[in-house]
Symmetry: C2
Subunit: 366 residues, 2 copies
């Protein structure tokens, strides 16, 4: 089943296509958009080795003049310096306003390639071809692009929408299992904050971490619904004025856990999983959410192979302190996204610190 | 006479205030905009020495928390490296989404501060306080921001609109005379492409280069009409789809002259002056423009103290070749903006190369 999701924004609308094997048709999809003839493919060496040749072939097939730029893999290379490398290749190949950057990779590649496209000649086209689950359901949708500052993640960036997003679920077969599970945390998030039916489907699926090998059909459906959820939210609030904050469900405590463990021990998806368990428990404590539903959430997280407890040794006071320094803090108040039922959340900055502590204590490994 | 010009864009509208002595009221103007309490003033040492104290006082007067960042003066410091310095100061002072960058300076400061604001936290507020004539009538209006790539000017940047522009004509008194004349080239440009009445006023004024000392009233009027002209054009075409190209009147050959003289011998305004003379002559040759009107243009340029002839030693073939590599070339065809009457231009890519050569030959110093 192929799906095409429309993302409708005031200034620009674009489509997300979810098509198994679609990578080989990338050029054909793009040729409908009447872009200029020059394309710069940005990737990393690992991904380019696996999918570069097919991508180039698909682009050349329809007559694009293609150049490539591979950047070192890994979050620590998500820097202005890497973006400068993209600029250099763009200049070398005389990219024009009508030219297109194709981001072939996970969120790291997508964020950098998107930012380079946003800022080269004050904005050239970008097409996202996400290859990690997280990039498919999260980073490639919504138009956030950017890089890290030595002292903080994603501090430098721009809102810049792609012209098109092509999701080929079959490339997920080569994604390392831990990365796949990490992406699943965001999928579960959409089930809780927006799409109860998606949640039900995830709950009903048997081997969630094996999906990409055994049930491409269901996987495609899950990808499409996840993108739809994010597109719905972003479409209602492109520039983060309000609603978009619900996408941070699980991320308040998640970010604290991530940063306190040095972004290594616990990855982003795992941290979000922990954060969702915590937020769910807080909502239960505040009598905003039924405890049975919270249990269903936690069971789904566990089935996916994601953590539901804090990493051992993590200090609860350190977590609570860290919440205060988060980007999302407004006037010193920590903002939480809390479920009220599966498929719906509310935003509040009225969570007492002792409730947070109590919930976190329950989540310590015994 | 104070003027307030409204710039109306689909996504955001803002005002340009032209107020003699207005610098001291900067804070009061800004406080109407309901911005966050943190302000970062970006400037260069020369300008900051002259106007920094007054600017800081005006901001503190209404309660802003102000930090500053001065960057080395000069086009060659319009780089990502300088922008990174702004990022560092932004981080140090914990600027938030609601915070504001105030650009106090010429086009170099304005372009960098604007780009830093466009990309810090994916966009914080920027207020332009242009101090050079060129920045007042050109770079601070229209939302183009950016920096140079080692191999090309303004290749890296973003379209990003300010929240407010404050023009205080009295700061022009300290602008070096050659910089003042350079800015006048853009003013004359608006007269030719858009505002015949502005042209008449310039023609009627006696001592154009002395205006800032002797007739602040007329100067204010000229500033306001110039900004209005640019705002009109930009308002009709924010992202350079079509009409905005007319702002490049005089810039086609101007850019070639600038780049061939290494951006030193001839400055931007002088090159534009030369380019306008050339474009005018081309239009006359092609029987699109009355020769008497072209003569009026050239006389006004001369009265301003701007050049009307090519710098000696400049090779005509080199100019014609250089036109081909310009950013604005489309499908190998050089695009010219040609006057049809004072106050109106047309865009064409149908200028025969031998007409260009012939006109340039006439403009060689004999
Ligand atoms: N822009 C946004 O809205 C947004 C949202 C969420 C996250 N992000 C950003 O996304 C980044 C994380 O993205 P990510 O999790 O994709 O990380 P990533 O890009 O580093 O990819 C994870 C790893 O998987 C590898 N990989 C990717 N696809 C593969 C495939 N098909 N086969 C084999 N290996 C593959 C990559 O080489 C990498 O080693 C972070 O920088 C984060 O800030 C951005
Ligand atoms: N963003 C745009 O739309 C746009 C349009 C045109 C030009 N530009 C850019 O603008 C830049 C040129 O701007 P510029 O001509 O203002 O150059 P500039 O910023 O270098 O200023 C010129 C000189 O005048 C000095 N100066 C400025 N104001 C002064 C004052 N009041 N008193 C004393 N000295 C003063 C500066 O220190 C500098 O030495 C270029 O980088 C160009 O690319 C941008
Ligand atoms: Zn996330
Ligand atoms: Zn100019």
């Amino acid at each position: 089943m192929d799906s095409v999701i429309g993302v409708n924004l005031p200034e620009q609308s674009y489509q997300i296509a979810v098509v198994a094997g679609g990578l080989d048709d990338l050029g054909v999809w793009m040729s409908r958009l009447k872009l200029g003839k020059k394309v710069l493919v940005v990737s990393n060496p690992v991904i380019f080795k696996k999918y570069g040749e097919r991508t180039l072939a698909a682009l050349k097939l329809v007559g694009y003049e293609v150049s490539t730029c591979t950047l070192p893999a890994g979050e620590r290379y998500k820097t202005l310096k890497s973006v400068q490398k993209i600029y250099d290749v763009a200049l070398e190949n005389r990219l024009e306003r009508s030219s297109t950057v194709v981001a072939l990779g996970g969120g790291v590649v997508g964020d950098m390639a998107g930012f380079a496209a946003a800022t080269w000649l004050r904005g050239i086209n970008v097409v996202q071809v996400p290859t990690s689950l997280l990039a498919m359901v999260d980073s490639s949708v919504g138009g956030k692009t950017g890089v890290n500052h030595p002292q903080g993640k994603n501090l430098i960036g721009a809102f810049y929408q792609p012209k098109f997003v092509l999701i080929d679920p079959s490339v997920l077969k080569t994604l390392p299992p831990r990365e796949f599970r990490a992406g699943m945390a965001e999928v579960i998030k959409y089930g809780i904050i927006w799409d109860a039916e998606l949640f039900d489907k995830l709950e009903a699926a048997k081997r969630l971490d094996q999906l990409r090998y055994v049930d491409e059909e269901l996987l495609s459906l899950i990808l499409a619904r996840s993108c739809q959820a994010k597109a719905d939210v972003v479409g209602k609030d492109e520039k983060e004025a309000g609603l978009r904050a619900i996408l941070n469900y699980g991320h308040t405590i998640g970010h604290a856990v991530e940063s306190l463990t040095g972004y290594k021990l616990v990855n982003h998806g795992e941290a979000v999983a922990i954060g969702m368990v915590a937020a769910g428990q807080i909502a239960v404590q505040l009598k905003m959410w039924k405890s049975e539903e919270a249990q269903r959430q936690d069971a789904l997280i566990e089935k996916t192979g994601l953590p539901t407890q804090l990493p051992s040794g993590l200090d609860i006071d350190a977590i609570v302190d860290s919440l205060q320094t988060d980007k999302k803090v407004k006037d010193g108040k920590v903002r939480f996204i809390l479920p009220t039922q599966i498929g719906a959340v509310t935003i509040t900055d009225q969570v007492p610190a002792d409730v947070i502590r109590q919930v976190l204590r329950q989540m310590q490994v015994s």
